[in-house]
């Protein structure tokens, strides 16, 4: 029996541990776009903040893959799934057969199509370790930062970089921070707390246009910035399963994590 797992984050690791609880012998291959040993994505803000380091943020101990008896293929992207041949195709053209496939590709950041976005040179998303590393390189005390999105990712990014930059403005279409999680009263408390820390907010404000280092908000205000961080939500990465299994905003699975396609499983993306 060979299990192939796409994705090396919480879902992929959970799949490995789940399989090993039941099947100690089966062969497991983990394929991950990122070359890194499995790491905890939520900790990228703590990495920049300095509360953890590359070693401590590892999601499992170094010997994890070996202990679990699975092969780790880092830095390889899966480009297609061939359910009839029960194979997956990689970006280097090679094919890997599977008996059971798990799609744990997670989500990608949603980049809203705003006019002039391409004119901004220092713009970043904040989902992966690479995002964090490249963002950190760009930071310096005189830089002004604009964060698009006052959700979990946006605010965690703000918390992480606050003491390394001159100023932070967080803009969000919603009338309150963490709009999908908190009600007005709760969000107000968080907002006040962050404002005391020096973070400015522009709520119920979309960005109509960008011009290199300026953002023209729907409120008519003009905000200057040196660095732009896009944290306007995420979209589950369902590309690989299009046409193979039922997919809506996310991949449809039952309580056994089975997708509608035979021998293909996936995970649930919560937000």
């Amino acid at each position: 029996m060979r299990y192939v797992i796409i994705g090396n984050s919480a879902a992929g690791i959970g799949a490995v541990e789940g399989i090993r609880q039941v099947d100690k012998e089966g062969e497991i291959i983990i394929i991950s776009r990122e070359p890194y040993h499995t790491y905890s994505r939520p900790l990228i803000s703590y990495l920049i903040y300095g509360k953890t380091d590359r070693e401590k943020m590892k999601y499992r101990v170094d010997g994890f893959y070996e202990d679990m008896g699975c092969a780790f293929m880092g830095g390889k992207a899966v480009t297609q799934i061939l359910p009839d041949k029960k194979e997956v195709g990689l970006d280097d053209g090679s094919k890997i057969a599977y008996d059971k496939l798990f799609v744990g590709t997670g989500s990608d950041p949603f980049v809203p199509p705003i006019e002039g976005l391409n004119t901004v040179n220092d713009k970043f998303t904040f989902m992966s370790l690479d995002d964090a590393v490249s963002l950190e390189k760009a930071l310096s005390p005189e830089k002004r930062v604009l964060i698009l999105g006052a959700g979990l990712i946006g605010l965690k990014c703000a918390e992480a970089i606050l003491h390394k930059v001159k100023s932070i403005v967080v803009a969000d279409l919603a009338p309150r921070v963490l709009s999908s999680i908190l009600d007005g009263e709760g969000a107000g408390m968080i907002q006040k707390h962050l404002e005391n820390k020096g973070i400015e907010f522009r709520l119920s404000a979309g960005v109509n246009k960008f011009a290199t280092d300026k953002a023209y908000l729907s409120t008519g205000e003009e905000v200057g910035f040196d660095i732009l961080v896009i944290a306007a939500g995420v979209r589950p990465n369902t590309a690989l399963l299009k046409g193979i299994a039922d997919v809506e905003r996310g991949i449809i699975i039952n309580e056994k994590s089975e997708t509608s396609a035979k021998d293909i499983f996936s995970e649930v993306k919560l937000f």
Partner: protein, 143 residues
């Protein structure tokens, strides 16, 4: 594997287990010195109401929700004992939300703390078991 079990039938609500637990955590030799004028934060706590009382601490579940919930891998299960790696813990407190028994709590230094069966402390057998005057907390194998 031997675990800590509580017989509320014999629990006197004297709270001594809490003090022995706090003391074991300090690795000090004298409890008076260790806990003088300190508000203790033990990993075992007494729940009591209307004459019924019992101690609550980690059950070291076979399929721990806290380990599954931990976003950093700081909580691990080794030889059946759920232990916390305080360096890795970023005190996001997801585990505190997940634990059905309320057996995990923030420690003074921020990272979470929980009963680790005194594996690390000098007590040898769990200090709460040793300190319980009436055998209400036992450390034994129960199938």
């Amino acid at each position: 594997m031997k675990k800590v079990y509580v017989n509320e039938k014999w629990c006197l609500g004297c709270h001594l287990c809490e003090y022995y637990c706090a003391f074991a955590g300090t690795n000090e030799k004298d409890m008076a010195r260790a806990l003088k004028d300190i508000k203790i934060n033990p990993r075992i706590r007494i729940e009591e109401k209307d004459g019924v009382s019992f101690a609550v601490s980690c059950r070291h579940c076979d399929e721990p929700l806290c380990v599954k919930g931990c976003i950093t891998g700081a909580l691990t299960r080794k030889d059946g004992v759920i232990t916390i790696n305080k360096d890795k813990c970023v005190s996001c407190y997801t585990c505190i939300l997940c634990c059905p028994f309320g057996a995990i709590a923030p420690s003074e230094q921020g990272a979470v703390q929980k009963c680790e069966l005194c594996v690390k402390s000098a007590a040898g057998t769990p200090a709460c078991v040793k300190g319980c005057p009436n055998g209400a907390i036992v450390f034994e194998e129960r199938g």
